[in-house]
Amino acid sequence: MSRSMQVYRDATLFIVDDDDIDAMTIERSFRKMKLLNPVLRAKDGQQALDMLAADQVPAPYIILLDLNMPRMGGLEFLARVRKDPKLTSVVIFVLTTSKSDEDLAAAYQDHVAGYVLKQQIGNNFIDLISLIECYWRVVELPIPASGQSE
C-alpha cells in the first residue's frame, strides 16, 4: 500500500444500526462538528455485508456497529468479518448499551477498535468523533482488499 493511498480525511463512516434515531444522532453530531465525511448506513448485519460485497462502501471506512439488529446482529457480523480475508482488517467500533455488551463482543477483540456507549452518543458523541479523528490521524487505515481497485 503506497502513501498516496492514505486518504483518511475522506474516510467513510459506515453506520450499521437498525434504529433511525441512533443514526440521526450520529449524523447530527457530524453536522455539528462540521465534518463532511460521507456517512452510509445499513440497517442490519446482512445488509452491511451485502453493501460491502457490492463495493457500495468507498474505502477507507470505519464501521460503527450496533449489536441488536434484525436478521443479522452485530456479533454474527463480527464472526463473518473474522472469517472473510477481505474484511478481516476493517476498523470497527461497537455501539453498546451496557458493559455486558463489551463482554459479549470480547471474543472478537482483535476486530474491535473500541466501544461506544449509546447513551453517550448525544452530548458525549463529540468524544467519539474525537476518538475516531485521533484514530484516523494515528493509525494508517488499512484499505480493504475490495477497495484497492479504486
Binding site: 437498525d18 434504529d19 433511525d20 434515531i21 441488536n68 434484525p70 451496557s98 455486558s100 452518543i121
Partner: protein
C-alpha cells in the same frame, strides 16, 4: 421211615429214607441203626435204644436236643425223629419217622436274626415307634416314644394311644385317619400335634401302618411319630418374615411355576394368592418378554447364584389389569423338598423412576425458566432501553432546536417521540403476555374455529386487499379459548403486517394429526421467511425488519411457540423466503388446565 429191632438192626426202610441217607434201599437192610448217626453219638446210642425198648412209647426222640443224622458219604444233617413201637410176633420193633429239618433250621436262624435287627432298630430309632392291637391298646412303646411323650413303656403299654397323647381337638382328625386306613388298608402320613405327659404340645409327623396277620386280616397298627417342632418352627419363622416383608416375594420352581407369593406381591401384581400358586411366572411379565423368559430361567438354573436380575437393564412387570411398572428383582436360589427353586425379591421402583423423571422434568423446566430469565434481563437492558434512549435523544434535540429557534423540525421529532412511547408500551405489553403465556387460560369452552378465525381476522382491521380464506372443514371443539385465540391472533397479525403487496391471501386450514392432536396451518402469500431465519424468528424480540420500518415487538412467534409447546404441541415453518410462508402448529384435541406437561 426206618424200622429197626431191639438189636438196632434195620429191618425195613422206605425209598424216601434211602434217598435221605444216600443209600440204595437194599443196602440199608441189615445195617445197624447206629450207622445212620454221626460218629460222636454212636457209642452212647445203644444205651438209649435199650432204655426205649424197656418202656417203648410213641414219642419224639431226644426231647430238647438237636438231633443230627449221617449220610453214607459222611455228611450230617439236622433231623427230627418220631419213635413209634410196633408189637410183632417176633418181638417189638420201632418205627422211626425221620424228618430232614435243614431248611426249617435255616429259616429259624433267619427269623431270629431279623427279629434281633428289628428290635435293635426299634429301640435305637429317633422316631417313636408304637404298635397297637386292633382294639387300640398299646402293645409296644420304644425308647424314642418315651422321650417324645414322657411316658415309660410300662406306663404306656396296655393303654389307648388316643387317650394318652392325642390332645383335645385332634380326636376327629385321628379317627378319620384311622378309619381311612382301615377302609383302604393303606399307609397314612400326616402332620399334627400330640400332647406330652407334662401337657405341652409337640408338632409331629405321624405315619400309621396297618399290620395284618398271616391271613391278611387286621392285626393292629404300627405308629411312627417324628418330632418336627424344630422344622415347624423354622418354617413358621420363614413364613412370618416372608409375609411381613414390605417387598414382593415370589418363589418359582425350575419349570417356572409359582410356589409361593407373599401379601405384598399379591398387592403389587393385583392377583390373589390362589390365582398365582401353580401358575407360570410368565403371567407377571410384559407380554413381549414372555417368549424369551424360559431361556433366561433355564440359564439361571444352570448356574444359580444370588444376584440381581437383568444385568442392569430396566425391568418391567405386568399387573393383572395390564399396567406395567418398573421393578428391581433380586434372585436367590433356595433348596426345597422338590429341588432347587428361586426366590425372587421384587421391588416396585416405579415411584422412584417417576420421581427421577419428575426431577429431570423439573430440572429442565428450571433451566428453561432460567434461560427465559436471562433472555428477559438481556431484553430489558437492550430492547426496552432503546426506545427510552430515543425519547431522551429526541427531547434533547427539541430543547436544542427551541433554543436555536429552528422550529420546523420539532413536529417531526414530537411524532418520533410519540412513536417511541407507543413502541415502549407495545414491548411491555407483549413481554407481559409472554411471561403469562400458559398461565392465563380463560375458560374451557366450545370453539367454532371458523367463526373464531373470522372474528380475529376482522378485529385486526386488515387492509382491504388482504383476505382470509378457510378452505376445507374447520373443527368445532372444546378447548381453552384464551391461549388458542392468542395463537391465531398473532399468526394472522404477522401474516397481515408483513405482507408486502396490496393484494394478499391468507388461508387457514386444519387436519387431524394422530388421535390426540389437530394440526392447524396459517398460510400467506407474503414475502416469506428465508430458511436461515426459521429458527431465529421464534426467539424473543426477534424481528426480520427494523422496527422503524415495520412496527413490532418481535415477540409474536416467541409467544405462539411458548403457548403451543405449553400444551404439548409443536410448531414449524415452511417457507423458501421468496414467496409465501406457512406456519403449522398442533393443538390437543382434548385440553384441560392439567394437560400441560
Amino acid at each position: 421211615m426206618v424200622v429197626a429191632d431191639d438189636k438196632g438192626i434195620i429191618r425195613l426202610v422206605n425209598a424216601a429214607a434211602a434217598d435221605m441217607f444216600g443209600y440204595a434201599r437194599a443196602e440199608m437192610l441189615g445195617l445197624s441203626i447206629e450207622s445212620l448217626l454221626p460218629m460222636r453219638y454212636r457209642d452212647a446210642h445203644p444205651a438209649h435204644r435199650a432204655s426205649y425198648f424197656h418202656s417203648p412209647s410213641r414219642r419224639a426222640m431226644g426231647i430238647g436236643q438237636d438231633l443230627y443224622a449221617r449220610r453214607q458219604d459222611g455228611s450230617e444233617f439236622p433231623v427230627e425223629v418220631g419213635l413209634n413201637p410196633i408189637a410183632t410176633a417176633t418181638g417189638t420193633l420201632v418205627l422211626s419217622v425221620i424228618v430232614d429239618i435243614t431248611e426249617r433250621k435255616r429259616i429259624a436262624a433267619q427269623v431270629q436274626a431279623s427279629l434281633a435287627l428289628q428290635a435293635a432298630i426299634v429301640s435305637s430309632s429317633d422316631s417313636a415307634i408304637i404298635s397297637e392291637s386292633v382294639s387300640g391298646s398299646i402293645t409296644s412303646w420304644n425308647p424314642a416314644a418315651e422321650r417324645l411323650f414322657g411316658y415309660s413303656a410300662e406306663e404306656a403299654i396296655g393303654r389307648s394311644i388316643v387317650d394318652l397323647v392325642v390332645p383335645d381337638g385332634y380326636f376327629d382328625e385321628e379317627h378319620a385317619s384311622r378309619q381311612q386306613m382301615q377302609d383302604d388298608g393303606k399307609v397314612k402320613t400326616f402332620e399334627t400335634r400330640r400332647r406330652h405327659k407334662d401337657g405341652h404340645l409337640v408338632d409331629v409327623s405321624v405315619t400309621l401302618f396297618p399290620l395284618l396277620d398271616s391271613r391278611g386280616r387286621p392285626a393292629g397298627t404300627a405308629v411312627f411319630k417324628t418330632d418336627i417342632s424344630a422344622r415347624q418352627w423354622q418354617e413358621q419363622r420363614f413364613r412370618t418374615v416372608v409375609e411381613a416383608l414390605p417387598t414382593g416375594i415370589v418363589i418359582v420352581d425350575r419349570s417356572g411355576a409359582i410356589q409361593l407369593v407373599n401379601p405384598h406381591a399379591e398387592k403389587m401384581f393385583g392377583y390373589s394368592r390362589d390365582e398365582l400358586i401353580g401358575e407360570t411366572v410368565d403371567i407377571l411379565l410384559p407380554t413381549a418378554l414372555r417368549d424369551s423368559h424360559a431361556e433366561h430361567r433355564n440359564a439361571y438354573f444352570g448356574a444359580p447364584s444370588a444376584r440381581a436380575m437383568g444385568n442392569g437393564r430396566d425391568l418391567l412387570c405386568r399387573r393383572k389389569d395390564g399396567l406395567e411398572f418398573s421393578v428391581e428383582i433380586g434372585l436367590t436360589p433356595i433348596g426345597t423338598g422338590h429341588g432347587t427353586a428361586v426366590l425372587a425379591v421384587v421391588t416396585d421402583i416405579s415411584e422412584r423412576v417417576r420421581d427421577s423423571q419428575q426431577l429431570a422434568e423439573q430440572r429442565d423446566e428450571l433451566k428453561r425458566s432460567n434461560d427465559e430469565l436471562t433472555a428477559f434481563a438481556y431484553v430489558a437492558s437492550h430492547d426496552l432501553k432503546s426506545p427510552l434512549r430515543g425519547i431522551d435523544q429526541l427531547a434533547m434535540w427539541i430543547e436544542e432546536d427551541l433554543k436555536n429557534e429552528q422550529l420546523s423540525t420539532i413536529p417531526e421529532h414530537m411524532r418520533l417521540m410519540q412513536s417511541r412511547i407507543r413502541r415502549m408500551e407495545n414491548l411491555l405489553d407483549d413481554l407481559l403476555a409472554y411471561s403469562r403465556a400458559g398461565r392465563v387460560e380463560g375458560r374451557v369452552s366450545p370453539v367454532v374455529v371458523a367463526d373464531l378465525a373470522r372474528g380475529i381476522f376482522d378485529m385486526l382491521s386488515p387492509p382491504p386487499g388482504i383476505s382470509l380464506e378457510l378452505p376445507g372443514d374447520l373443527p368445532i371443539f372444546t378447548t381453552l379459548n384464551t391461549p388458542f385465540e392468542q395463537v391465531l391472533r398473532n399468526l394472522f397479525s404477522n401474516a397481515i403486517k408483513h405482507h408486502d403487496r396490496d393484494v394478499g391471501r391468507i388461508t387457514f386450514q386444519s387436519k387431524s394429526a394422530g388421535e390426540r392432536f389437530l394440526e392447524f396451518t396459517v398460510r400467506d402469500d407474503g414475502p416469506g421467511i428465508p430458511p436461515q431465519y426459521h429458527e431465529r424468528v421464534f426467539g424473543m424480540f426477534q424481528t426480520l425488519r427494523p422496527r422503524d420500518e415495520i412496527e413490532g415487538s418481535g415477540m409474536g412467534l416467541a409467544l405462539v411457540k411458548k403457548l403451543v409447546e405449553c400444551y404439548g404441541g409443536t410448531i414449524g415453518i415452511d417457507s423458501d423466503g421468496v414467496r409465501g410462508c406457512s406456519i403449522h402448529f398442533t393443538w390437543p384435541v382434548a385440553i384441560s388446565r392439567g394437560s400441560r406437561s
